[in-house]
Symmetry: C2
Subunit: 341 residues, 2 copies
């Protein structure tokens, strides 16, 4: 059932039917009711491609998920964020076009998305410190919202981020309050923008208590179990090993725990682990996690909000850039006990 068929069935012109369906003012109430009723009865829905061609807008948003060339791995955070964004799109009648791409030809994908006019805007995931995508998308005049921030960007842009700096400041501060003085940082790769901010928060909290950061108990690696394990193992072998670990995510924290246990140390007594984790909710409720404390934020909610910001921006591309900073929530797990005195 196309518009032509529907209008024929009603004995009206396509125009009138279209107008009635799209809520135009100058169409009689009686006609409108008839049209809407018939549309429902025939289960008519306009062809999205034709509509978008006529309207000039795709009514779709692109999400480009980078897949690192080195490690075949999809960050599980994406799933939640995407789900949240999807809710917003569903509510406002937008489609989500997902492209999974190796990070060596991201640029091509963005250009393609723009020139084929498949989408009205994009969400930029996993930004790096000086991410070239900001510039690229500005040049392409493609509205976009970055999930995260780009520290060294020379253009202004819209973003939604979690306050990683503060989250790590507070977590470090928490450990300092417990009496810890040797606090290790097991960070993610510091080409990622969020990792830089996390380290900044950690260092600031130490500085506030007059503690100089010690590079030997700071690592910056992939967020894998193995990387966490190796980092913790070598740190624990130091003459003055850390008594606490601040870990970038649940996965490497599992590795840190393994290294700790392997050394015969007791979690929460000899050593405390605090890990930031967005997905913790997946696995368990916080109090049932034996060894972790988490600063947790709602990634799902972030996705919802980022999508709203983008649709807003698409509606008014010439407006000012939009920003939004979410605060992480500090959730205490059961075995981040006080430092043994």
């Amino acid at each position: 059932m196309r518009l032509k068929d529907l209008s024929a069935a009603l004995g009206l012109s396509q125009t009138t039917v279209s107008r009635a369906l799209n809520g135009y003012p100058d169409v009689s109430e009686a006609t409108r009711r008839r049209v809407i009723e018939a549309a429902r009865r025939f289960d008519y829905r306009p062809d999205a491609r034709a509509r978008s061609l006529a309207l000039g807008a795709a009514r779709a948003i692109g999400h480009v998920i980078p897949l690192s060339t080195r490690h075949e791995m999809v960050n599980p955070v994406f799933a939640d964020f995407i789900a949240g964004a999807g809710e917003t799109y569903a509510r406002l009648g937008y489609d989500m076009v997902l492209t999974v791409v190796r990070d060596d030809d991201e640029a091509r994908v963005y250009r393609e998305l723009a020139s084929t006019r498949r989408v009205d805007g994009v969400i930029v995931h996993a930004p790096r410190v000086a991410d070239p995508r900001v510039r690229l998308l500005c040049d392409l005049k493609m509205p976009f919202v970055v999930h995260g921030r780009v520290s060294a960007a020379d253009e202004t842009y819209s973003w939604l981020d979690v306050n990683n700096r503060r989250a790590f400041f507070r977590a470090t501060d928490f450990l300092l309050d417990l009496g810890h003085r040797r606090i290790a940082l097991v960070n993610g790769l510091e080409i990622m923008d969020f990792a830089i901010r996390r380290r900044a928060g950690y260092e600031a909290a130490l500085a506030d208590r007059g503690i100089a950061p010690d590079p030997r108990i700071m690592s910056s690696e992939e967020m894998t179990e193995g990387a966490g394990y190796r980092a913790a193992r070598s740190m624990l072998a130091l003459p003055d090993p850390p008594t606490a670990f601040l870990v970038s995510s649940l996965i490497p924290a599992l590795g840190v725990r393994r290294a700790v246990e392997e050394r015969g140390l007791a979690m929460g007594r000899d050593v405390s682990i605090v890990c930031h984790d967005d997905e913790l909710g997946y696995f368990t409720t916080p109090d049932s996690v034996p060894v972790f404390t988490a600063t947790r934020s709602s990634v799902r909610e972030a996705g919802r909000l980022a999508a709203e910001m983008l649709l807003d921006l698409v509606a008014d591309p010439s407006g000012p850039p939009r920003h939004r900073l979410l605060e992480a929530e500090l959730v205490l797990g059961q075995s981040t006990g006080p430092l043994r005195s």
Copy 2:
């Protein structure tokens, strides 16, 4: 740069340019080269909507991700599967349209996808035992491939599945070989088709050794840490508790481990855990997992293949249904030790 501009710049008609670009036979080699060269120079790419409108095909595939109404949770398996499918789409020039939907109005989404002609086909995720979507999609004449199978379907359909029955048969057999006779099954919800097949494999392996399944050591719950914990705890409190657990996935297996440890039992000595897990690779390499053995399959590869099957089906919708059964790989973790004699 649109087709009109490009053809004007070349002093040719749109027709000729279009033909040259799409590899039509009757256009001189010289012209073709000129056109292709110019298209590259101007970075011309056809408007996807216009093209798809003219061609009648959307060149896009839909993935509908169900989000359970009861438990706000996105199955992490989707991420990997989607990534794999995305590779296939990228390779063959298709788009992926993702819709996240609460399971109470799936039907609406499928109908919409069909009548708005946004996609040429869909992948059906997370099928239930008698999933109404098979019938619905057949009625809508929308090509589809199910990731999994639908036991009680009265239509024929295309699917790609992992051999869950055999995976659980082999895992159970493995435990029986170790001398275990009280083997618990901590299964997923048995409205899901895969859970039924897993139970069938488990029961068949027991039957082969003349062991009757005991409902008191079989559970069927959400695959959460908490559910695994509760199931294992109550089973361990039985007069004749299990000596081994066969668990549906890594997450509930974490809960089972918690229950085991809480009871002061030693993993791999008093109790063995074997868990099926598709995503295990995310967290760690198998040998670094302290307590698990996994039957693992490559979800990513499954995504790639399913997408290929679907595109094949889209190209020839009247052809026979396609089927593909993948075998799971049995991976042994370090502490699934022999039963203490």
